[in-house]
């Protein structure tokens, strides 16, 4: 039979290993360390159409993830989608920056691309972006293509 000291040692090792595994999962697997929501600021952007944009989708500028989509809401007065972006406060952008909804790859997930403008003042929490470009909806693209084809055909006659 084990002595109590030995038993305590094993239980201690077990607890340390278990908590170590939880830390591994939160730091190495979930990357808790590098992006926390604590030091971020919120920017609003209105889009005519957000396509398949999801909450927590990345916000990228020059391909680098600088924040995440915080909330997606429908504005009852302007009939537009209001997207709240929570940006990492390490990154600052000029006031006249513009946001586009882009797709990574042909069928990949949708994300927001932020292009910096030229204003000397930076965006602060609660500001909203003036220039936005909606998501490309494949059906609209196809119908535009068909219309222009049809118009070409009529012009030739």
């Amino acid at each position: 039979m084990m002595t109590r000291k030995e038993l305590d040692l094993w239980v201690g090792i077990f607890a340390v290993a278990g908590i170590g595994a939880m830390l591994f999962l939160s730091l190495k697997v979930a990357n808790l360390a590098s992006f926390s929501s604590a030091d971020s600021y919120q920017i609003k952007a209105k889009f005519d159409n957000i396509g398949g944009l999801k909450v927590r989708a990345p916000v990228k500028s020059a391909g680098v993830v600088v924040g995440r989509v915080g909330e997606v809401r429908f504005d009852n007065e302007s009939f537009e989608a209001v997207v709240t972006l929570s940006l990492d406060s390490r990154y600052q952008f000029p006031k006249d920056s513009s946001a586009k909804i882009l797709t990574s790859g042909l069928l990949g997930e949708q994300y927001i691309g932020l292009s910096p403008g030229g204003d000397s003042a930076n965006l602060k929490g609660g500001d909203s972006l003036k220039l936005t470009q909606s998501a490309v909806v494949l059906e609209n693209l196809i119908s535009q293509f068909l219309y222009s084809k049809a118009a070409e055909g009529e012009a030739k006659k």
Binding site: W10, V11, F14, A17, A21, A30
Partner: protein
């Protein structure tokens, strides 16, 4: 004719009441007693440590080895499917999300039920059959405080740690197969995983699941042991029932928890 139908219904109803409703009520009352008498397990913490040793430390080998193999199989199968769509870098996401959200808590819970739950039931059942529990009562020692509650809390504390170890080991197994064996790019394996796995949404929910499974398995195990008929047959039946009931409880609770947690944003 009518008489036979009523007799059948009556037999069915009495089985239902005796086997299910009565047992459920007794199990709830028993859980309440266990929680109320839990003070001793924390005042005399070595009692609980002893049970953590038997339930947790001794399950380490099976948990670690199974976690490693589950992760490696996920790595192989996931690569096979993802490579068809040209997105084999997402292997890390697939392995880690399926482990942290589902497989970690569920498989660790099933292994824990069969490795530790059955042992707890058999131990308490045999203590009852050999009248050790009655002897304790004779000496004014409450068997629920001295025997049942430490085993319950030992299981509840061990289960989340075991599930976390299982998931971590599985991610490591997926890394071994995906990156070391097949040659998926190491940087994108980790970085895609880190950008897809959310702390609050995935890790915390996984830990909540494992705590719930820990409570369910420990509760069922101590209850079945305490309620076992004090015969050799009764103890063996109770041990079987522990494994069956806790496995079903884990799978059913997992569905309910998943439905509550991941409804798709």
């Amino acid at each position: 004719m009518i008489k036979r139908v009523t007799e059948l219904l009556r037999a069915l109803g009495s089985r239902m009441v005796d086997n299910w409703i009565w047992r459920l009520g007794f199990a709830c009352r028993f859980l309440w007693r266990t929680l109320a008498e839990s003070g001793t397990s924390f005042r005399r913490i070595h009692l609980t440590f002893r049970e953590i040793y038997f339930a947790g430390v001794q399950s380490l080998v099976i948990i670690l080895v199974s976690g490693l193999f589950v992760g490696m199989v996920l790595g192989l199968q996931g690569y096979d499917t993802l490579a068809r769509y040209g997105s084999s870098e997402a292997l890390g996401v697939l392995v880690s999300l399926s482990l942290v959200r589902e497989l970690g808590p569920v498989v660790a819970g099933l292994l824990f039920a069969s490795r530790a739950g059955s042992a707890i039931t058999a131990e308490i059942g045999l203590m009852k059959a050999t009248e050790q529990l009655s002897a304790m009562e004779m000496m004014a020692v409450d068997p629920i405080a001295r025997v049942v509650a430490p085993r319950f809390w030992g299981g509840v504390i061990s289960m989340p740690l075991l599930a976390a170890l299982f998931s971590a080991m599985g991610v490591f197994g997926g890394y071994l197969v995906g990156v070391r064996l097949i040659g998926v790019d190491e940087g994108s394996f980790w970085s895609q995983m880190q950008s897809a796995v959310d702390f609050r949404q995935d890790i915390v929910n996984g830990i909540i699941k494992s705590v719930v499974f820990g409570v369910a398995v420990s509760w069922i195990a101590v209850y079945e042991g305490y309620a076992a008929p004090p015969t050799a047959e009764g103890v063996s039946g109770a041990t079987t029932r522990t494994v069956v009931t806790s496995s079903l409880a884990i799978l059913a609770l997992d569905f309910v928890l998943t439905a509550l947690m991941f409804r798709g944003v």
